[in-house]
């Protein structure tokens, strides 16, 4: 890479010297990541096989898979199942998380694509529009949750007011409190907050599409919609795939928005929320650790499958 014509002996020592320096440059970063990521993850997994409690972190006994699934046969011959894997509350959370992730990512991708196409066109005030869509992204999630909680307020909220005036609803809706609409409220806020991010990632992909392709298509008289599906979409597919997986990973671990917008609602409780609740609030530390381990395993499986099936090039290395 940086070898110059100075003879092989010197090259080798220079290269070795650089590699030694590289090791010392990387070591502190790796140590830090080990301390805050790898080690706590291993400890969480370990805790999930014990009966550790929050007030006595070192008093846990090994219980095997009991937190996940415990099968006990009573003397009468009845078989009892206990553990996360047979806990309806857990499966409710899994279902909520999957529902939330799939719906929100689809909405955000479609809307993000539309916004990106708008921003990719030349028009007056484009810079202004781009600045405007950055605002939801810049607002802290907790603040967005509170802002929307206020706008969605059943008595004094502006959303109910607008919808009543437009005749879309006949009476005020308790968006965040009612189990029918709580998930919709969460989705609305998440789509509002993260569509800009999606749009910007897609826009970066769009801007790499050479303009003359559009010119050529125009001269040949091909309909713009056809150009979009046959030319633009395949070309931005790599950027789109990366944007989708980043959003998906964020969606699968969502915590803060739901914790603040719809606290204690069964209709929106996700895997992260239920794990923390067990770990901290219900003093089921090890049980919560088991649930968060399951979430980690699910995400790891999902990422591997996605990269493998979609042939996503996350590093951009092979393109070089």
């Amino acid at each position: 890479m940086t070898q110059t014509a100075q003879g092989p002996g010197r090259d080798l020592s220079l290269q070795q010297q650089r590699q030694r320096a590289a090791f010392w440059f990387i070591a502190p970063m790796l140590a830090a990541l080990f301390l805050v990521a790898a080690w706590p993850l291993l400890r969480t997994i370990w805790f999930s096989f014990t009966d550790t409690s929050l007030d006595n972190l070192y008093g846990g006994q090994w219980v095997g898979f009991d937190n996940y699934l415990k099968i006990r046969t009573l003397e009468s011959g009845r078989v009892l199942y206990k553990g996360t894997l047979v806990d309806p509350a857990w499966w409710n959370a899994v279902w909520n998380t999957v529902k939330f992730s799939v719906v929100s990512v689809i909405c955000e991708t479609v809307l993000g694509l539309i916004v990106a196409l708008v921003l990719n066109a030349e028009f007056k005030g484009r810079g202004f529009v781009r600045a405007a869509i950055l605002i939801p992204w810049a607002i802290p999630t907790i603040v967005s949750a509170k802002m929307w909680a206020w706008m969605l307020n059943d008595q004094f909220g502006i959303i109910n007011d607008i919808m009543l005036n437009l005749g879309l609803i006949s009476q005020k809706i308790a968006w965040t409190a009612s189990t029918d609409t709580a998930m919709m409220a969460v989705l609305m806020v998440d789509v509002w907050k993260t569509t800009p991010f999606m749009a910007l990632l897609i826009l970066a992909g769009l801007q790499m599409v050479p303009r003359d392709i559009y010119e050529a298509a125009k001269i040949d008289g091909i309909h713009p919609v056809k150009v979009f599906f046959k030319v633009t979409l395949p070309l931005i597919r790599p950027a789109l795939m990366v944007a989708v997986i980043f959003r998906m990973l964020d969606a699968l671990r969502i915590f803060d928005l739901i914790y603040v917008l719809t606290p204690n609602s069964k209709a929106t409780k996700t895997m992260s929320v239920i794990s923390r609740e067990n770990m901290i609030d219900f003093n089921n530390f090890a049980y919560g650790a088991a649930q968060s381990t399951l979430l980690f395993a699910m995400i790891a499986l999902f990422v591997s499958a996605y990269i493998w099936l979609g042939k996503v090039d996350l590093g951009g290395e092979s393109g070089k």
Binding site: M1, Q17, A21, F25, I26, P28, M29, L30, A32, L33, V36, P40, L41, T44, S48, V118, F123, G125, V129, A131, A132, I133, L134, I135, P136, A138, P140, T141, V143, S144, K146, M147, W148, W150, M151, F156, D161, W192, L200, L201, L203, A204, P238, V242, A243, F246, L252, R253, F255, D256, Y259, V260, S272, S275, F285, S292, V303, G315, G316, S318
Partner: protein, 276 residues
């Protein structure tokens, strides 16, 4: 001609919808933050009131000011630590060839995909063991998990694209890697450092799960936790006015920063992943 006018109008209507949809909630929060008493409970589309008492309530209370100080301290320290560790590491990752480099980069990216809840139990133990529970250092330590991988990733991509020649010249002059980083690369890295630093700052400023779990007393809370916990005299009565005032206070600086650096931020967000 007529259809062109029609499609133009349609286009600008779409643009207007995008802008209104993006900006309205924050605009409404600002309006609300200036309303008090019964004015709060009438729906206003335009600013009608200008009453600063919500702001006085929030900033006059003993704890919210403290939370802002905590957040500023935690976010800036996190950024400085992440940048320091990342600059040297990403020089090595971008500029020195060694075996396992690709694998190392992928593992670093993998860490940034960790669900935070998966390390929560282990981090509680670690933080209690180190005696950092309920101190700002609990957050500074734990935020490394998302600021560091991201910073390393972006800086590595950035450094990989710098021309080889400048480095070669320095090597010929006998410069050590440390000199190369501090004297040759650092001056060129400023734009990337500003971007990644800002994004890491925003991430740390907004973080909620760790801040909620690792703090106990009001005085140690960061602003997101403080806002989430703002409560009125009774359980039923949610103090919407002060909540909106606090929200505006913590959001305005961010929006100003983001708007000033918007081009750089967009470049930083799209670096790494979408390059391929």
């Amino acid at each position: 001609m007529n259809s062109k006018l029609l499609s133009n109008t349609g286009f600008y209507l779409l643009v207007a919808a995008v802008v209104i949809f993006s900006v309205f909630p924050f605009y409404y929060a600002i309006i609300t933050s200036f309303a008090t008493g019964t004015a709060l409970f009438e729906v206003n589309y335009w600013p009608k009131h200008f009453d600063l008492s919500n702001y006085k309530t929030v900033l006059g209370g003993s704890t919210f000011g403290r939370s802002i100080v905590n957040s500023v301290f935690i976010a800036s320290t996190t950024v400085i630590m992440a940048l320091f560790l990342a600059v040297t590491a990403s020089y090595a990752l971008a500029r020195v060839r060694f075996r396992g480099r690709g694998l190392l980069l992928m593992s670093i990216l993998a860490v940034s995909m960790f669900p935070q809840i998966a390390v929560l139990a282990g981090l509680i133990e670690l933080i209690k063991f180190l005696g950092l529970f309920n101190t700002p250092f609990a957050m500074i330590l734990s935020y490394t998990i998302f600021t560091l991988p991201f910073t390393v990733w972006v800086l590595t991509t950035f450094m990989r694209d710098l021309p080889v020649e400048i480095e070669e010249a320095a090597i010929v002059d006998g410069a050590t890697p440390w000199v190369i980083i501090t004297q040759v690369f650092l001056p060129l890295l400023w734009p990337a450092l500003v971007t990644t630093g800002l994004l890491a700052f925003i991430g740390a400023w907004n973080e909620f799960l760790f801040a909620l779990t690792f703090t106990l007393s009001e005085a140690q809370r960061t602003t997101p936790v403080a806002i989430a916990m703002l409560s009125g005299a009774s359980q039923q009565e949610i103090p919407w006015g002060p909540i909106m005032a606090a929200s505006v206070i913590v959001t305005v600086p961010l929006i100003v920063l983001v708007l000033i650096f918007q081009r750089k931020i967009v470049a930083g967000l799209t670096a790494g992943g979408v390059k391929g």
